[in-house]
């Protein structure tokens, strides 16, 4: 009788175990499209079988286990971080590109061309008041174009700083959310599959903003570090970051230039140099490297200011070395005056402050070079040659002024093009990492070994083929004519 009851108990235990398995399966099906959810498995544990001792065997459901693999999760997060960076690059560089018009129909390029035409017309009629007035008007247009570009770039810099603040705020908000999830785990929800899914979905969201390292601790909570160094979340506490302008360096070449943006940890330590990847790294790169390349910072004048300074100072030099009158009427020759004024104390403010001198009048423009031989339109001719210069004094690093500006614009175009390609590639890399995560969930050691052997063999062959294709495609592009 007791054996019969034992057998019935054993059968009931088995039914309980299979019910548990069905529950897990049902849970997996129901959460198939839940963000961050990882398949759960139910292990069945064999019970001892010894009829003599009244042990009837059977199975017992052991603990439900998640097939989540931390290594695969990290891979997805790393690729997501790179995608976030590339997407932010595209967004920022699109805004930057809109500041440059290379069609020649507006902006600095157009203003340069119009001024060079005015110089040329003045060279043909050096005593014409109309030609001189046109030169002043076109020079004013050039100054205005520089001011507008500098203002546009400065506004973009302000927007970037604002976005940095917002990004840091978002990171802090998500870190707080993760700390709250950790609190739930510490309160006993350690095996809650839904909570686990929410944590991983949130970690993926956070990885778009910055490179993070999330490590599962023995108590089931997740510790999150910014690039493996700066604590963001430990147990039920989050540690907020802060974005702030870096302090000015009085010993820098341009102490009055715009300062860099820095990221500070919760303890006030500057962790800017440790930030890599994600939207945060992209915005820092724009704020601290790309935009200062145009507008300058405490260590460099920036290409826009360099162009404005070289151009304005060279035009002024040519005009002040010339003469308004040659003294042939018995009076002393009258020298020329400078056409442009600009901030001479801060070389990161040249483009913004560039203007035509408010006191200059058409008759003060010096067209004459005394020589010998004296040339009545010598200065005007020298100015008109700035459109197509051959002398190094008329160039910046071997480039004409319009070529230099064209390079500034095309650099942005190239960066944007690369960023667009990077987004496309990175979207594939994220999908690949997600597929890998799906495939390796819960595989056995034997399966792992087999997959690795298969991969190694396929990788070597594909790698060689890609090397061949790389060379072939490059050669093909080189032999084809450009349209």
């Amino acid at each position: 009788m007791s054996n019969l009851i034992s057998s019935m108990m054993s059968a009931a235990g088995a039914l309980d175990a299979y019910t548990s398995v069905l529950d897990v399966t049902q849970n997996n099906v129901a959460n198939a499209s839940t963000p961050g959810y990882a398949k759960q498995t139910e292990s069945l544990e064999a019970m001892p079988f010894d009829p003599a001792m009244g042990l009837t065997g059977g199975v017992l459901a052991s603990q439900v286990e998640s097939t989540r693999d931390d290594y695969a999760e990290q891979t997805v997060q790393q690729q997501t971080t790179l995608l976030g960076q590339a997407q932010q690059d595209v967004s920022s560089l699109s805004s930057l590109q809109s500041q440059f018009d290379v069609t020649g129909s507006s902006g600095i390029d157009n203003a340069f061309n119009n001024l060079f035409q005015a110089f040329s017309a003045w060279g043909q009629t050096p005593t014409s008041t109309v030609a001189r007035q046109t030169v002043i008007q076109r020079a004013t247009d050039v100054a205005t174009a520089f001011q507008q570009s500098a203002t546009g770039l400065a506004t973009l810099a302000q927007d970037t700083n604002q976005q940095l603040l917002q990004t840091v705020s978002d990171i802090n908000q998500i870190s707080g959310q993760l700390a709250a999830y950790n609190q739930q785990i510490m309160g006993g929800d350690r095996n809650d599959a839904g909570l686990d899914a929410r944590i991983h979905s949130t970690l993926e969201q956070l990885s778009q903003y910055a490179g993070i390292t999330a490590t599962k601790q023995a108590d089931g909570t997740y510790s999150v570090l910014l690039n493996g160094q700066t604590a963001l979340v430990i147990e039920n506490r989050s540690y907020g970051l802060r974005a702030a302008p870096a302090p000015n360096d009085p010993t820098a070449p341009n102490p009055e230039g715009p300062s860099h943006q820095s990221i500070l940890s919760s303890t006030g330590t500057d962790v800017t140099s440790t930030v890599s990847g994600g939207q945060l790294a992209s915005l820092l790169n724009l704020a601290n490297n790309v935009l200062p390349g145009y507008l300058g910072d405490q260590n460099q004048p920036g290409s826009l200011n360099t162009l404005a300074l070289k151009f304005a100072s060279h035009v002024n030099d040519l005009l002040t070395q010339g003469y308004q009158t040659d003294g042939s009427d018995g009076t002393s020759p009258v020298g020329g005056v400078a056409l442009f004024t600009y901030d001479t104390n801060n070389n990161t403010n040249v483009a913004q402050s560039l203007q035509v001198s408010p006191t200059v009048s058409p008759d003060q423009l010096a067209a004459i070079t005394l020589g010998p031989p004296e040339v009545s339109n010598g200065v005007a001719l020298a100015l008109s040659q700035l459109s197509n210069p051959t002398a190094s004094a008329d160039q910046i690093g071997g480039l004409s002024y319009t070529q230099y500006y064209g390079n500034m614009a095309s650099n942005v175009g190239n960066l944007l093009n690369n960023a667009n390609n990077q987004v496309q590639t990175q979207q594939s890399a994220v999908a690949q990492a997600q597929n890998l995560r799906q495939q390796i969930s819960g595989v056995s050691l034997d399966e792992e070994a087999t997959i690795l052997i298969q991969f190694q063999r396929a990788y070597e062959a594909s790698s060689k083929l890609i090397t061949v294709l790389d060379q072939l495609t490059q050669d093909t592009i080189n032999i084809l004519p450009s349209s």
Partner: protein, 120 residues
């Protein structure tokens, strides 16, 4: 053989590399085998194209197609690299789990002597 026929080789090569990229995204060992075939096909198409390239010199769109092809090749290289990094990392984890660490602190190499891999 017309210039259009030569240009088709470029388009086909690009399509092959794109297919290889899709397989690299799928990332299973079976897909990797298919990737190898697709890349091999692309190499053949390109070699075929190069033998007829004199016929295409006047076609300005060919360069644009070739640039597109190169972008796909670079994407495939990047995807293969990320796949390689993933498996190398995994191999290291497997090494440390199955045989511990070396005296230098590196994961122990995974030995697979005598292992037979059967696929049906």
């Amino acid at each position: 053989v017309s210039a259009a026929h030569a240009a088709e080789r470029l388009v086909a090569a690009r399509s092959d590399v794109k297919r290889a990229c899709d397989l690299l995204v799928a990332a299973s060992p079976e897909a990797l085998d298919g990737c190898q075939d697709a890349l091999q096909q692309a190499v053949s198409e390109l070699i075929d194209f190069r033998s007829k390239r004199h016929e295409i010199r006047s076609d300005p769109s060919a360069r644009s197609t070739a640039c597109g092809l190169r972008a796909e090749v670079l994407r495939a290289a990047r995807l293969l690299q990320s796949l390689s990094s993933f498996y190398h990392g995994w191999n290291k984890i497997l090494g440390s789990m199955s045989a511990g660490y070396t005296a230098n602190g590196d994961p122990a190499p995974v030995t697979r002597h005598g292992r037979l891999c059967c696929r049906g």
